[in-house]
């Protein structure tokens, strides 16, 4: 029997889904959709009587105060009797095989009421006026449903069952490689989407020739996962012959000899004072925090899944990086999240979208909602982030998710799998989620296209991960496991593979708990189903661990043993499904030597707009800069994230009475203690194509400056790299990646700030055939996201960016230069060409230490770094945040600017030279501040005023801008907010 329960809000004004639908219809210029209603529906399958169904509705599914309810069997006319004037019923429901958290929660809750459903699925139902079918279709797919995960049914639901699946019967598929030439091998790789090169497949072929057989499917899949770009830094770890600006360089392993090497050198220099604990080894980078804690941090990308299904892609991206932290050492507690999005321009015309590309506004709304719903449910504050808008990201949006964790000292070193340990999988059940091109095998699970999507897209279930997290941390507290890692890309194959890389393991795949029957051994092994972790557990601890899991309502299953044979043996009911040598799996990949040739982009001379002579004014430019998408307020996003849960918040993303932007956010590491953690990011993507080295260097400096501005100790800053690149197969584009790596190496050493973890996402290129039939390609700009994890001795000394008191003096620290390529001023069209700003490491280092000393001495009333929008934007943000004005004399700015006289004020006001700070200093301590700044380029710039306005003097002339005008401009970020959340 299949029941449908429809729950409807009595108060039509409170029907937000309907209101969003009507607003969206207007934007799509669909006439006649001026009214709508929405209904939360539940499909319940099982031997359930009407009274039982009605009891479920009344006790569980509907609110007696605010909602009305309809209960009927699917197909019953009562379910199609909509509100007056809204005859069209449109159903949106998750596709078979796609995770349905609401349905699962409801199903579990019904057992409380003594009802045992076979399955429950949630369905959203919309009531529309009678519209042309084409318009209904457009509404459905443009506003309500995602083709990747939803079914849409207009009119009655013709559904007999929610589907089940039937058991898989063991078959052993051999993949013939013997005798195949490169062309044939390439075909095998393509047809099975293995992403292995002919050279790599040849190595596999030759290895198995030695064993006298061809590989089985499951073995080949395991190798493909282990050798994938995602699991081993294929490109960054390659030997490369590079020809750079400084001549030819030969790398045997690019990453090892740049980023890792810098960290190694720093640790050697620090000697006994080395504060790194575990770098580039574990699931996240670990550094010392206080006497009894270490902290760890990891930032991941989830670009391609988010491009297909923004909500699910971003949510599972966050879920994955949270598990990376949970799976560090012997388990770390996640205490903060960050998210950074790079998307196309919000005002992109819908007609300009290449086929299959989601509009940036809908995409941004989707990824924000994904992070919100997953992070908020996990109870981890999302405290830091950024959004960048650039045409280069239109087809390949970037979604970065990061997590910070805290763990007892020595936990990181303590983790090691031992021979004889059980292989335990804990958390969610395994389905076809995330299996590349997987196709459902049993006819009960509907059509092939559905199963494709059901497989390709992962949907997160945050509460299952929260329960998993509670279980892991309790088991860690009781010391019930020897090692732990998360099931991410490659699923069990890479989790168990990595943990057993030297010891080897035997796994009985039929023991893995499934969401539904029908998965083959290979699918079980490589599924990327979410919310799972693998633990190595001593047999003696297994019983206790199972109890802890049961107490938290988490499923934990022993599926095998870490053996010590050095072999990865996969079984299905005792029969051998796969048999791999760990050494070949992890060391057998042939490495190709890559060519890299740097072609310096032509630098056009700097050209200033005629508007300079024709009425362009500083105040107008400032107002325009503040409302540019990169600079404008992100409050509409920040407020959707719970950034205060866990009670450790010290500096929030929005600070001061006027809710201005903070540089970095600060939290206490441990409740009741005063030592703090500062988190900041840097992104200089606009320089990516013009100067990859300075793009990376500038981003790193910005990330460091952000945490230093809040009072973080510049001698305790850990860095993370996230490289997102376009095509790196061509020597000239690979060279931009090499140059960025060199910048990471150099900057880390300059600032003694070690990289502790990182990740790369390459080949972010989109190819399509446009309306005119011509082949087109769009690549993202070379993008390095730098993340800085800082530490503050005493959070009560932390400094925020908001002005505090009229009368405080204003200083600018750091030298301003006239290079404006990639600046917001360039986006305004007031200038173009020239170079981008270059990092002066010595000057930055001096500024960092001086600002930090001033903060520690307690003589800064406010501090803000100059980044997007430069000096004037920074001062304006400080004024908005504090609700106070300022008097600023640009002519006082220490600078090396050679531009036409008319342009000088604009260059000074808006240059984005990295490593500069605006400091507010109480007049009483002005002398001391000057003392601290000895040897640093700095100058008094003006003062904080009680008037609600900025008074800017340049070249002798003064202009006044009212604060409310600046605030209004800055808050027009709301432009993006109108996107449907």
């Amino acid at each position: 029997m299949l029941w449908e329960v429809d729950v409807c809000l009595r108060d039509a004004d409170a029907d937000h889904a309907a209101r969003a639908l009507v607003a969206g219809a207007a934007e799509l210029a669909i006439a006649g959709c001026t009214r709508a209603r929405s209904t939360a529906g539940w499909l319940i399958e099982g031997e359930i009587s009407r009274p039982e169904a009605e009891r479920l509705a009344a006790r569980l599914l509907a609110d007696p105060v605010t909602e009305s309810v309809t209960v009927a069997e699917v197909g019953d006319a009562a379910l199609l009797a909509g509100p007056a004037g809204l005859p069209t019923a449109l159903h949106v429901l998750p596709r078979t095989g796609v995770t349905d958290p609401a349905g699962q929660s409801a199903c579990e809750a019904m057992r409380l009421l003594g009802v045992e459903p076979v399955a429950v699925r949630s369905v959203r139902k919309y009531w529309l006026p009678s519209l042309p079918p084409a318009d209904v279709e457009r509404l459905a797919w443009k506003l309500l449903a995602s083709e990747a995960i939803h079914d849409v049914v207009v009119g009655p639901l013709a559904l007999a069952t929610l589907g089940g699946g039937r058991p898989w019967t063991f078959t052993q598929e051999t993949v013939r490689l013997e005798g195949l030439d490169d062309a044939a091998l390439a075909k095998v790789s393509r047809s099975r989407s293995l992403a292995l090169s002919p050279r790599e497949l040849a190595a596999v072929r030759d290895h198995f020739r030695g064993l006298g057989r061809d590989p089985w499917e499951i073995e080949l899949e395991t190798i493909a996962q282990t050798w994938s770009e995602h699991c081993c830094h294929k490109t960054l770890g390659s030997p490369i012959d590079h020809v750079g600006p400084a001549g030819p360089v030969r790398f045997d392993n690019l990453l090892k000899e740049t980023v890792f090497a810098a960290t190694r050198t720093i640790r050697e220099r620090l000697g006994p004072h080395d504060w790194c604990v575990s770098v580039f080894r574990d699931n996240s980078g670990v550094v010392r925090f206080d006497g009894d804690h270490d902290i760890c941090v990891k930032v991941e990308t989830h670009n391609h899944p988010s491009a297909i299904e923004p909500y699910g892609g971003a949510a599972t991206g966050l879920g994955g990086v949270i598990r990376d932290v949970l799976g560090t050492g012997l388990g770390a507690k996640p205490i903060a999240n960050l998210d950074v999005f790079c998307v196309g321009p919000a005002d992109t015309a819908p007609d300009d979208l290449p086929p299959g590309v989601i509009h940036p506004r809908r995409l941004l709304a989707g990824v924000v909602a994904g992070v919100r719903d997953y992070g908020n449910r996990m109870g981890i504050p999302t405290i830091a982030g950024a959004v960048a808008f650039d045409p280069g990201y239109l087809c390949n949006p970037l979604v970065f998710c990061g997590t910070v964790g805290i763990m007892p000292r020595h936990s990181a070193a303590g983790a090691a799998v031992r021979a004889g340990d059980l292989v335990v999988v804990a958390g969610g059940r395994t389905g076809r989620d995330g299996i590349h091109g997987a196709t459902f095998s049993s006819e009960e699970l509907s059509s092939a296209s559905e199963s494709q999507s059901g497989g390709a897209v992962q949907i997160g279930h945050a509460i299952h991960e929260k329960m998993l997290s509670d279980f892991v941390l309790e088991a860690a507290r009781q010391g019930l496991f020897h090692a732990i890692t998360d099931c991410g890309a490659g699923g069990l194959s890479s989790a168990v593979g990595e943990m057993g890389a030297t010891l080897g393991a035997t796994v009985d795949l039929e023991k893995v708990p499934l969401k539904y029957e029908g998965l083959s051994a290979t699918e079980v092994w490589i599924s990327e189903a979410q919310e799972r972790m693998v633990l190595a557990v001593a047999p003696a601890d297994w019983e206790r661990l199972a109890e802890v899991a049961a107490d938290e309502g988490v499923e934990a299953t022993a599926i095998g043993t870490f053996t010590g044979t050095g072999k990865l043996l996969l079984r299905w009911h005792g029969r051998t499904a796969g048999d791999l040598e760990c050494h070949f799996l992890h060391e057998g990949r042939p490495k190709a030597r890559l060519e890299s040739r740097f072609v310096p982009p032509a630098i056009e001379p700097q050209v200033w707009s005629e508007r300079l002579g024709a009425g362009a004014t500083l105040d107008a430019a400032l107002v325009a800069v503040l409302s540019l998408p990169d600079v404008a307020s992100k409050e509409w996003i920040i407020r959707q994230y719970d950034h205060e849960v866990q009670g450790a918040s010290v500096i929030k993303p929005l600070v001061g009475p006027g809710s201005g932007p903070a540089d970095a956010t600060v939290i206490r590491g441990v409740l009741g203690r005063d030592r703090g953690i500062a988190l900041g990011v840097g992104l200089r993507h606009r320089l990516g194509t013009r100067d990859p080295y300075q793009m990376a260097a500038g981003g790193i400096v910005e990330a460091i400056a952000n945490v230093v501005a809040t009072g973080a100790d510049p001698d305790r800053i850990a860095l993370l790299d996230n490289f997102c690149w376009g095509d790196t197969r061509r020597p000239e584009s690979l060279a931009t990646l090499v140059e960025a790596c060199r910048a990471c190496h150099d900057m880390a050493l300059e600032f003694m700030a070690p990289f502790v973890s990182g990740k790369d996402s390459l080949n972010n290129v989109f190819a399509w055939t446009d309306a005119t039939g011509t082949h087109r390609e769009l690549s993202i700009p070379p993008t390095l996201l730098a993340t800085a994890l800082g530490q503050i001795d005493d959070v009560r000394r932390a400094v925020t960016s908001d002005f505090k008191r009229a009368g405080d003096r204003l200083a600018i620290v750091g030298l301003s230069c006239g290079d404006l390529a990639g600046s917001q001023l360039e986006l305004l069209g007031l200038v173009r060409g020239g170079r981008g700003p270059a990092v002066d490491p010595a000057a930055c280092r001096a500024a960092f230490h001086a600002v930090s000393e001033a903060a520690r001495a307690g003589i800064l009333s406010a501090c803000h770094d100059c980044s997007d929008g430069g000096l004037l934007a920074a001062v304006a943000e400080m004024a908005i945040a504090g609700g106070l004005g300022a008097r600023v004399d640009l002519d006082a700015t220490p600078s090396e600017i050679a531009v036409p006289t008319a342009a000088r004020p604009f260059a000074t006001a808006f240059t984005e030279t990295p490593g500069r700070f605006i400091c507010a200093v109480p007049a009483a301590v002005a002398e001391r501040f000057a003392g601290v700044m000895q040897g640093v380029p700095w100058a008094w710039l003006g003062s904080v005023t009680p008037e609600a306005a900025l008074e800017i003097t340049a070249a002798g002339a003064a202009v006044q801008v009212p604060l409310d005008r600046l605030a209004r401009a800055w808050r027009t970020a709301a432009g993006a907010e109108r996107s449907r959340g």
């Binding site: 409170a14 007696p64 809750a109 919100r372 109870g379 009670g647 959340g981």
Partner: protein
């Protein structure tokens, strides 16, 4: 004398239990986090405590509605035990998700048969929102709020916090009985801070005894001066945040 004991009750998806327990400890109580499964198996745990707190979070994912499943579980498995605890003079505090749970268990603002007469609906904006609000206390009925005479700030963080009643008559009755004890107030600039469209600006309410109290704002997120978004350079960092009073009041009341 012995420190009072507080039990912080958690369910799958509860996520404010640690800082809430920390706030009780700061206020001088001995706080223990207990899973609802454990309490259902051993309801006598309530005999040894004086304060029961249901903290914030997304119990069971809030996928059907906020607090719905948790409330159902409590009503089915612990209804009598909870009523007994209240009638013995125990204090019950529900914060955010805990407030949503209390209303649906019938322990707070329900009719004689224990049917809910009030609910917390989706915010008017239709969105989850994290921001700070100005609050003021009405009347003296609720021991948790004693001494909080001047308006004070707390953060809210919820998607479903719009207080509604089954009817205007219910609203008037609860108001007349002095149970709508915590209201969103105007901020320093005089503009209203009601963040979700709550009826009568209600941010928190108590039962007829005053001992069962639920609120949407998070007092455990303002126990240190440094929790406030504008603390830096303005507040005495040694001072406690306004939210701590809710916990110290509870401790005083049962001591």
């Amino acid at each position: 004398m012995l420190s009072p004991r507080a039990l912080v009750l958690r369910a799958p998806g509860t996520n404010c239990d640690h800082e809430t327990a920390h706030a009780f400890e700061r206020a001088g109580a001995i706080a223990r986090r207990v899973h609802v499964k454990a309490l259902a198996e051993k309801p006598t745990l309530l005999d040894d405590i004086q304060i029961l707190c249901i903290p914030g979070g997304f119990s069971y994912g809030d996928d059907i509605a906020s607090g719905r499943i948790f409330a159902l579980e409590l009503a089915l498995r612990l209804g009598d035990a909870l009523r007994g605890f209240r009638d013995r003079g125990g204090l019950v505090l529900g914060i955010c998700n805990g407030f949503q749970v209390l209303l649906q268990t019938g322990l707070l603002l329900a009719d004689a048969e224990g049917r809910p007469r009030a609910a917390l609906a989706h915010n008017r904006s239709g969105r989850f929102i994290d921001r700070w609000v100005r609050l003021e206390v009405r009347g003296t009925k609720c021991p948790f709020l004693h001494g909080l005479d001047a308006a004070f700030d707390l953060p809210i963080a919820h998607g479903e916090g719009r207080f509604v009643t089954a009817s205007q008559a219910d609203l008037d009755a609860f108001d007349a009985a002095g149970q709508l004890v915590l209201r969103y107030a105007a901020d320093s600039t005089g503009s209203p801070t009601n963040p979700n469209g709550a009826a009568a600006d209600v941010a928190g309410a108590c039962d007829a005894t005053g001992r069962v109290f639920g609120l949407m704002p998070h007092p455990e997120r303002f126990i240190d001066a440094t929790h406030h978004p504008a603390w830096s350079g303005r507040f005495d960092t040694a001072a406690a945040g306004a939210g701590l009073a809710v916990f110290t009041n509870a401790v005083k009341t049962v001591s």
